[in-house]
């Protein structure tokens, strides 16, 4: 008969704001049993916390360092089993307009106990939907994440030169280094069609990074086309299947 308590993750960069939410969750516990399973000071810390604990809902501030609330919601949307998100904001006309348009529930700071209770009772199921995310951030995600020795790293999309599928993982190559990304290449191709173009079954290249192309004789003696990159000596082979499309693209520019 007793439902398990609601598991809540609090995400806010300001310690007093987190403390206040914790107090309020305590205040309403008689009516809605809930426990705070974790606190995080920004979006990236929240993603890390969620690798350790499961939560039913995340109370998410919008303005935060590193990965902000909207960025966090975007990352969560790409993950299975992610908690529902309730946004909390002091004042953000732009975001509030988007929430209203999408009928997404949100809390205004200072948060009231009654309002919090109401929002937690009619919890949305699962992540924020794609149209809402687009409204909040029309240009989409700004980062991919990469897990490294238990820590999460943000990989800014703008720095990625190419994405290459290798065995189980996708490697994101930036000017500085390689990152392992746990997302499928086809999904990335769809999500970032404007930024990347497929040159091979296992490779997407940033349109901006393409310098040109040339013909090359491969190790098997066959000639093939390769893509030249700006400021990069590496050459990326183009598959026969992708060549006509790429040729058209290169001629356009």
């Amino acid at each position: 008969m007793n439902a398990p308590p609601l598991r809540i993750l609090i995400v806010d960069d300001e310690a007093p704001a987190r403390a206040r939410l914790r107090d309020l969750i305590g205040d309403i516990s008689a009516e809605l049993p809930a426990i705070v399973v974790g606190e995080a000071q920004d979006g990236l810390a929240a993603l890390e916390a969620l690798q350790q604990v499961a939560a039913d809902v995340a109370l998410v501030d919008i303005r935060m360092p590193r990965l902000d609330g909207i960025g966090l919601a975007q990352q969560l949307a790409a993950r299975p089993g992610a908690p529902a998100v309730i946004f909390v904001t002091a004042y953000d006309q732009y975001a509030v307009r988007a929430f209203e348009l999408s009928a997404v529930d949100y809390l205004l700071k200072p948060v009231r106990a009654g309002r919090l209770l109401e929002a937690l009772k009619k919890l949305p199921s699962g992540a924020v939907d794609a149209p809402t995310l687009r409204r909040l951030q029309p240009e989409g995600r700004h980062h991919l994440t990469s897990s490294e020795r238990g820590r999460l790293l943000l990989v800014p999309l703008a720095e990625i030169v190419y994405l290459k599928a290798e065995l189980k993982y996708v490697t994101a190559r930036t000017r500085a280094r390689d990152y392992l990304v746990e997302e499928a290449l086809t999904a990335l191709e769809q999500e970032f069609a404007e930024r990347f173009v497929r040159v091979h079954r296992s490779c997407l290249v940033a349109r901006e990074a393409i310098a040109g192309c040339e013909r090359e004789t491969g190790p098997d003696g066959e000639t093939r086309w390769v893509i030249l990159l700006k400021d990069f000596s590496e050459k990326l082979p183009v598959s026969r299947r992708q060549w006509p499309q790429l040729k058209a693209l290169l001629q356009q520019e």
Partner: protein, 340 residues
Amino acid sequence: MFSIRQNQELTRLPDFGNIGVWLRALLAVNLGAVLAAVAANRVLAQLPAEFTMLAAAVEPPLIASLALLYALRRTLERASPRLAAALVIAVAAAASVAFETLLAPLQGAAALPAALARATFWAVVASWLLLEYFSARARLHSPALAEARLMALTARIRPHFLFNALNAVLSLIRSEPRRAEAAIEELADLFRVLMQENRDLLPLSQEIALARKYLDLERLRLGERLQVKWDIEACPPDALVPPLMLQPLLENAVYHGIEPAEQPAEIVVRFTRRGEQLLIELSNPTVAGSGDHPGNRMAQDNIRERLALYFDLEASLEVELRDSRYLVRITMPYRAGVAA
């Protein structure tokens, strides 16, 4: 009686000590010279030369007149508006005649009565038009209007700050009631100043005290993340500044330089006096990915406009990016306050 007083107010002379008045007079007279040169021009290729001739003829008497009027400004202030205007016109005419007389021998001829009459005529017309222009400008920026604009411009604070501050104070009430009390008192002080009729220039020390209150409130929620370095040794604390100028700039710096930063970051505020100028520099680190915000521009435009209302062209606000820091620099005339 009231209407007479008002009339006097409206026909008052421009301040000949103000560089803006000089620039406007120079600009207007040169524009007149351009128009005259274009009107008299027959061969297009000679236009630049003709204009240069004309400008060379009108500029020395103009500058001499302005300098004379600057020297005479105390006398002019005491005279009735009509008499003062007549004096200004007379000075301009006298300067033109004097230059014409001096320059005529250089061109190989004695000053002709016709040339002198022409110089007098144009000097009178030009100075009369300029006086009309300045009095129209003064009407447009009449004290009542300027005051209303100042009021509208100062009464602004970001809701973002208010609601975050209230939220932080609420969180303290249970755990640290005394700190919460102190915070509400500071919030009250801050808003009292924000809602006052802020018209007169204030001593810098008062501006700094207010800014510190604001920063204390921000520190409540941001804690160690907010670091501020004050560099005010090189500036007399009695310098007068427009009220509520520092706080909006600090608010911008917190919003763009501290809130999005992962590590504690430092805002640097520096005041320097350089001769007759007061230099205010405020900088914050830039954070990659947090682009320009319209609110930022709004606060700066607001301050720029207020500086113009107080100091006309003698004050400026510039923004630059240097060594990945965002720097706002305000230059204004140094005015010493009366020792309180």
